[in-house]
């Protein structure tokens, strides 16, 4: 039997909600996939799309951005800004041939340890099914069958 592929997912967790949700999941001893490696940011609004691209380029198979629920942002509406950037980023990743499930934006409040754990499990499963990303061959090398002419993304109304 060949060893099951275990994806590596980088998680950008906001300090106030999702990071605390992950703390709570641990405190409550909720077991979930160890594949997500968290990085703390003060707000999901701090997640520069470059962080996501950097993580994918450096070998991550997926990236999870987790913030407070809309309307509950510690910084009023940073999560909404994250959402706006995320929509644009997704449009770009689609053109690069990166599957939708690999980069996800999720909401988890500080009390939602279980929900965060479920989302990590679900995403891990989805990315595991997709297999390794292999950014260098697949995306840069055009190994996914897409032509590597990256047209300027069309500005989307968000």
């Amino acid at each position: 039997m060949t060893k099951q592929f275990e994806p590596v997912i980088v998680g950008f967790l906001c300090n106030w909600c999702s990071y605390r949700a992950a703390d709570l999941a641990g405190t409550a001893r909720i077991h979930y996939a160890p594949n997500m490696r968290p990085i703390r940011v003060m707000c999901s609004g701090r997640v520069d799309p470059q962080f996501v691209l950097k993580a994918l380029r450096e070998g991550a198979d997926g990236v999870m951005i987790a913030g407070c629920h809309p309307g509950e942002c510690h910084y009023v509406n940073g999560n909404i800004k994250a959402l706006r950037r995320f929509i644009l980023l997704k449009a770009m990743l689609r053109q690069l041939g990166v599957e939708e499930e690999r980069v996800q934006l999720v909401w988890a409040s500080a009390s939602e340890g279980i929900i965060l754990a479920e989302k990590v499990d679900k995403m891990t499963k989805a990315v595991r099914a997709l297999g390794p990303l292999n950014w260098n061959e697949k995306v840069i090398g055009g190994g996914n069958g897409h032509k590597v002419v990256v047209a300027a993304p069309v500005a989307e109304e968000v």
Binding site: D23, Y32, P34, R46, E58, E72, K81, A117
Partner: protein, 674 residues
């Protein structure tokens, strides 16, 4: 332990892997992680230790800094929300700037979430390595001193706000108490008795209201609302709209002759819950504080038709206190802290049409019943049906109307069981031969003396039916049901549907957040949950602070609460604020953004990004600048800057990019194309 020598001038990182007893070590191979970490670039010392947070663990860090010349420290242990401060202080004692430290969370985020030792150890290495690579880029930072204005704003004059205001004022601190209604007192002023002691609500509340009125340290602003909040912890500027009362507070003696002489009456929807009437110039209730009446402009004959002026004609004061020309005033003042005690509303029972409120005359809400049993209420305390004459011979009290119900509010409103029991007791007391039915889902009576009160009601022979009421109807099926209200309920204890014919039904609605709580939370720039309740900083360890420094919450605006809990929270907020006032100056986290003034292209993209309006644009130099005092450090502008010239202290791009590289140590491609 491993130790290496690095040339002088280079970074010398100390890495400490904590066992946390067996909490981490049981799943993570801490020895392996420590040995491995010792081999990483820049790492000079790597150790594992049983409890890093113990004083011996901290001493290790302190000594290593001094003896081995460490420049940066990484501790891999629990969440930074637990012990970041502990280790920062240890660094400081060792002579390092406290921000030369980074924590890797290998307990909450790793060892506690899996039994897979191999995966957990791999993840621990990734998290530790991320911290090592990040910490190399850490810069020394100084905490920001902020002076605390000793004045405090309390919003909401219910029992929670009153408690907070009095505690602070008694401690010698000035308080601005802002209340939207013409009088303070809140919901508690409407109640007849308070459970479980059956204290007369007004008797215990009004002395406190009078204290507020007469306190030299309290500026009471009723019939007022906060319109604008600027600033930050220690230095808020508040704009309050003081609505025109059309009564001059300087001249008015509160004699009440104007109220007596006013020829017009309207239904009082607010204080009397629609059950009674009030004059158009009115005081909500006799003990209202302040004593000055207010003219209800919408219904006043003078404002509507330009005639009447009865109040002015009969006003005995010299000069006359009635001032039809009075206008709203905008007051501006500075405070250091803000306490929000904006209270709750009751669920609108009309949303559940099967309970018949508004359609079936003798279905009442709990607040209507409170006013009815109140000796100062519209029926002088007599329990009557909607005809305002006949007494009911049987009463059904329906619990959980709109609460514990997925269709409306899934939460438990906490106080309804207790006040429903109180209602049952009051019916027994006033109409001894009446039958009282309490239809409940679960009886929830946690609290001092609460269970005992429930037992008392069991002895008073209240009928308890365990089941959620399906319907209240007047469609009789049997002669006994004729002319009655029939409560259709499944009695889950006997496993049978029951139809209970009664004369009167009282609905106990959910407590819910004020309809404008979202706007209020935005005004004060703090969080509000899905249900509209304000969010506390930590549900257990920081229940009255919010995520916004300097803004505190007390009472039912945070979640359903009874009187003792609201009082306790009011006092707790006062204690928190008083502590800050006594300090005079507090140190703030230096996580703030700065814009390189030389490199900014002046595109202004960041200007609108900032939720705190902390970024100003200098028209003369065509560059943007962050006002450090206003910046809260979210980093949204940093991520948005197309030129990459905004730096978010302690979360810089360098630090985060290195952290990403570090966390992916095992999967990084050999050579990354540019």
């Amino acid at each position: 332990m491993s130790e290496k020598n690095y040339p002088e001038g280079g970074e010398r990182v100390g890495v400490y892997i904590c066992h946390c007893g067996t909490n981490i070590a049981k799943v993570v191979d801490v020895e392996d992680v420590a040995t491995w970490a010792g081999e990483q670039p820049n790492v000079a010392v790597s150790r594992e230790y049983k409890f890093m947070c113990s004083s011996l663990g901290q001493d290790l860090i302190e000594e290593d800094i001094k003896e081995k010349g460490l420049t940066k420290i990484v501790v891999a242990s629990c969440s930074p929300h637990m012990h970041e401060k502990t280790f920062r202080t240890a660094c400081e004692r060792g002579g390092l700037n406290p921000f030369m430290f980074e924590m890797a969370n290998i307990r909450e985020h790793d060892s506690w979430t899996t039994d897979d030792e191999v995966a957990a150890t791999l993840k621990a290495k990734a998290l530790t390595n991320a911290a090592i690579e990040r910490v190399v880029h850490h810069q020394p930072l100084e905490q920001l001193p902020v002076e605390i204005n000793p004045n405090t704003l309390v919003v909401g004059g219910g029992i929670a706000g009153i408690s907070a205001a009095l505690e602070l004022a008694d401690g010698g601190h000035h308080v601005y108490l802002v209340e939207r209604e013409p009088s303070i007192g809140g919901h508690m002023a409407q109640l007849d008795k308070t459970f479980p002691t059956l204290d007369c609500s007004a008797c215990i509340l009004t002395p406190k209201m009078v204290d507020v009125d007469q306190h030299p340290n309290i500026t009471l602003l009723t019939w007022s609302a906060v319109e604008k909040v600027d600033g930050y912890l220690g230095n808020f500027t508040i704009n309050v709209r003081k609505k025109a009362r059309y009564v001059n507070e300087e001249h008015c003696t509160g004699c009440g002759i104007c109220i007596e002489k006013c020829p017009f009456k309207v239904v009082d929807d607010i204080f009397e819950a629609g059950l009674g009437e009030r004059k158009v110039i009115y005081r909500p209730f006799p003990q209202a504080v302040p004593k000055y009446p207010v003219i209800d402009k919408e219904n006043c004959a003078y404002f509507l038709r330009g005639k009447c002026k009865a109040c002015q004609i009969f006003c005995p004061t010299e000069p006359n206190s009635i001032d039809f020309e009075q206008e709203d005033e905008i007051l501006t003042f500075d405070v250091g802290n803000i306490i929000l005690a904006t209270g709750f509303d009751l669920f609108d029972v009309k949303q559940i049409p099967q309970y018949g409120y508004g359609r079936l005359a003798n279905v009442f809400t709990s607040l209507e019943f409170e006013r009815m049993v109140n000796a100062a209420g519209p029926t002088d305390g007599k329990i009557v049906l909607r005809d305002m004459e006949s007494s009911p011979k049987s009463v059904a009290i329906v619990h959980c109307v709109g609460s514990r119900d997925e269709n409306y509010h899934s939460y438990c409103s906490k106080v309804c069981c207790m006040y429903s029991l109180k209602f049952a007791h009051l019916v027994h007391e006033r109409i001894p031969d009446a039958d009282v039915y309490n239809c409940y889902i679960d009886m929830r009576t946690p609290g001092k003396g609460y269970e005992e009160f429930y037992n008392r009601l069991l002895e008073e022979e209240t009928h308890f039916i365990r089941g959620k009421v399906a319907e209240v109807t007047d469609a009789a099926r049997t002669p006994e049901e004729e002319g009655k209200l029939i409560v259709q309920v499944e009695d889950t204890l006997i496993g049978r549907q029951r139809r209970v014919p009664v004369d009167m039904v009282i609905l106990s609605p959910a407590m819910e957040a004020k309809p404008d709580s979202k706007e209020v939370s935005q005004l004060f720039k703090m969080g509000c949950d899905f249900d509209g309740f304000f969010v506390e900083r930590h549900p257990k360890l920081d229940p009255v602070a919010t995520m916004t420094e300097g803004v505190y919450i007390a009472g039912a605006c945070q979640g359903p609460k009874d009187v003792p809990d609201s009082v306790a929270q009011g006092a707790a907020t006062a204690a928190r604020v008083a502590g800050l006032i006594n300090l005079g100056t507090v140190m703030m986290e230096p996580v703030r953004a700065t814009i390189s003034q030389d490199d900014c292209s002046g595109c202004k993209i960041c200007n609108n990004m900032c939720p705190y309006n902390a970024i100003i644009f200098h028209e003369d130099r065509k560059v943007s600048e962050v006002i450090t005092a206003l910046c809260q450090g979210c980093g949204t502008c940093v991520a948005a800057c197309p030129s990459g010239v905004i730096s978010g202290a302690h979360f810089t791009n360098d630090q985060l990019f290195s952290q990403i590289e570090g966390i992916l140590w095992d999967v990084r491609p050999e050579k990354v194309p540019a």
